[in-house]
Symmetry: C2
Subunit: 370 residues, 2 copies
Amino acid sequence: MDLSAPSSLDLPRPKPGDGLHTLSTPLPVIDEDKLAANIARVQSYMDSHKLAFRPHIKTHKIPALARQQVEAGAAGINCQKITEAEVFADAGFEDILITFNILGEQKLARLAALNERISGLKVVADSIVTVTGLAAYFTGRKPLTVLVECDTGGGRCGVQTPDEAAALARGIAASRSLRFGGLMTYPKANTEAAVEHFFIAAMAYLAADGIDCRIRSNGGTPSLFSAHLVPSATEHRAGTYIYNDRSMARAGHCTLDDCAMHILATVVSRPTPERAILDAGSKALTSDLLGFADYGHIIDYPEAIITGLSEEHATVDLSKVEGIRPEIGERIRIIPNHTCVVSNLFDVMTFHRNGVVTRVEEIAARGLVW
Amino acid sequence: MDLSAPSSLDLPRPKPGDGLHTLSTPLPVIDEDKLAANIARVQSYMDSHKLAFRPHIKTHKIPALARQQVEAGAAGINCQKITEAEVFADAGFEDILITFNILGEQKLARLAALNERISGLKVVADSIVTVTGLAAYFTGRKPLTVLVECDTGGGRCGVQTPDEAAALARGIAASRSLRFGGLMTYPKANTEAAVEHFFIAAMAYLAADGIDCRIRSNGGTPSLFSAHLVPSATEHRAGTYIYNDRSMARAGHCTLDDCAMHILATVVSRPTPERAILDAGSKALTSDLLGFADYGHIIDYPEAIITGLSEEHATVDLSKVEGIRPEIGERIRIIPNHTCVVSNLFDVMTFHRNGVVTRVEEIAARGLVW
């Protein structure tokens, strides 16, 4: 082994000014103009309906992008885990809602430290177990604001009925170390009536108890443009919209042209006339199908179908591609089925305009699952 | 914001001596004894059949584990991408086979630099385009060893027939800057006869041309214990076996008890008697189904079914769990459907014996897709 060679890995990272066509693949890249348009479109909708907007940073995990969202008018951010929130608190964000049940000594200790550092930390809880744990840990500390998570049909976390929501809220309000912040839900798409009913009913119980229900936080990119159909909501949370993806386009929440994230890939093999192999596999696209039968949309060859994904290869069926088919060495662009999980695979995200790299941002909260 | 708080993220990383039960979840952990047994079992099989064994490092991406594999008797390693190989060359490995078509100036430059550093670099190619690119770039440099990738039924990369393999081999052998190293394949499981036929036929053509076919590299964990049914193979490559996973157990290549990787998770919600929510989602397990209808095997509650995965939550159906059901705050262990992709989500891997952390290794090649 030649020991004079550098021992630290000098990765082929993009730099501002690089032409996209020069970059090593596979590589996710973000179109600056589509990004800005997505941010503006949603903020404009929220403003027109007088809804506060709370972007979920999980989709990008980059503080600079959250700043863009806040500069456009967003009021605070949404994180899913404590360590995500810590990264964004480090970057100066003060109004952070963590939409997760926080349990266990280690996590409660970090939550308490975070609560000391920023002015607007909020968490959610959906059980008296979680609330009791929070109340006990925060005894003698700066009080923690807790919202009740409501299952309005999403079938994941959340109390099951409005009166259960009110009961849990009473438990929070009764604790000297906690503050009841309001209600939160992550609904199924197209269930606005159910969300509204749940919120209104829970608020009626709370009003009867003299408990103020300041925040009613609705969420989801699929519910974005129907958010005004939940009049009782004070804010809406959404993550995916900032980049958009094939799943959002299929559901009619955007067009394929609104998808700011493309994965650049190279054709590395043409074993048969009907098969191409790309250098992007599940470690670049993830194998998230989200109801699709195939693994992504190839912009340059819309009739090509990514039928299989290995970890570092994509198998593409070209049989429906009329005319010219891609050649070995050719670069193609893929719109992923699911954009949020791609961000979590890479250390940096590359941004571009007119085919030229504008900036490269560290994906600061990558891999933070605690 | 309290600026006296530390600005760098002090992650809750495990340390040697920690009890597993104290660690923050979700967290993948590796049982040292199962790991050692998996390494020994496969090496013993290979030794008994006089097959050289070339482990694929993609499953762990950790140089120390590759050293364990080599110390047990493995002859060289397998990487999928150049940057993976660079990390392992940095760690002292000399015999590295990169099973990928390498194309493009940037990657060829890195390949040439790697070839200068180590004594046993080999790549594969399945087209004259790839071979021509390699031959041109390596003109005037230390010659590069190239194997021909053969599609023996796997349906991914590879020349389609033995005579195409021989033709490409002739192209490699004719180049002054390349050396023909032999044949390589990544077959479907249970296709030993097809692999043997292809290798034998290609070798006959090559022998007729006076071209030495030194290496015949077969591969795959599913084909591991039938590798001896390809007598013409000189070596076998496999990655997944070192940890094993639910997919390998279902196929009969190991038992669930041989699965060295568990994902530790915590129950964060019990919204209904039949539903539990865990803090491990697709960002800890990946959504790789690999033919399963559900997302992993819960060791502690075998009848529980992970019916849905969000990015940071698992939705678990408890309806078939008789007797005691898990409670909020309870820690459970999951065997993933697919272990290789889990390694690529995390920065470190935690090892343990008898419930105590033994070591924590950096996943050195995490996220390296070029």
